[in-house]
Symmetry: C2
Subunit: 193 residues, 2 copies
Amino acid sequence: MLAMKITIFGKGNMGQAIGHNFEEAGNTVEYYGSHDHATDLGQIVIMAVPYPALKSLATQYANELVGKIVVDITNPLNFDTWDELVVPADGSAAQQLQEQLGQSTVLKAFNTNFAATLKSGKNGDQTTTVLVAGNDQAAKDTFSDALKGSPLTVVDAGALKRAREMEAMGFLQMTLAANKKISWNGGWNLIHG
Amino acid sequence: MLAMKITIFGKGNMGQAIGHNFEEAGNTVEYYGSHDHATDLGQIVIMAVPYPALKSLATQYANELVGKIVVDITNPLNFDTWDELVVPADGSAAQQLQEQLGQSTVLKAFNTNFAATLKSGKNGDQTTTVLVAGNDQAAKDTFSDALKGSPLTVVDAGALKRAREMEAMGFLQMTLAANKKISWNGGWNLIHG
């Protein structure tokens, strides 16, 4: 395995849980909060911020993100109503980010996972499954390689267009937890059958 | 438990697997194929047909379906491209059916389950989870009651509007199986955590 440098924007539960897995897999992980100024970003950059902060973060670091693999993890809910997404119904936050960052390679990942299942690497008695969608196969392979050695199972979910479905699924899962149908320690896990 | 009469339109894998669960729970299940003429429908009617056949089936039985709980199980994929759904991006097949059948109570269910996991009642080593969405709580409770005694776990996914997200999830799951990331015996299962 070739160890990489991973940059994580966001020091919250998700950023920490994601970073933990990249560390466990032998990579060097650097974390930055909203008041930090990051320089010399890693090959993979995780945008572990809430959707409302995504666009301005991408604007702030647009030059530094050129040529990087940029991972969008957001679930763009309307948090006033919890009844809809705030991105176009036929699109996704990830596709918006790819439009904004034309010289970066955007992947969608981690948005269908709650932080607790990323932190533990387990969902129930199984390993946690991370979906990754993107248009660049080499970038998806790099992402998967960087997580080899972590407890996570990474599954290729197809082109970036599938981020629409991943965001719908992440949204649905959050409503199930908010309505106490499941806890924030559970969620959907993929059975290979 | 009060045994009910369940009508299933569709004798395919899904219709049979769904019917098996209602039978196991002690209900009477009647199956009808496309050349049959059904009369005296049950309190719950499962539309276990592919999406392209849904509208005409609902038209054919519009009168008989008045006052019934009508369950839409479809995944309205574009089967030419496997790259999009054919319903409006902010809507769903279930919401279309509810508009068509104004005097019936439409529920969305079973579309996030592959037939094999409904037939066995297991997804991996866990019980299969069935999501149900609908605007009428009493209808959802009746649906859940009718499956008590089956091996399935039924989880209320909220209002019928959530069918959009369930159909996105069903679509995503089908693309994972078609691309051999999972088998048709697996799929998403809900961990309560």
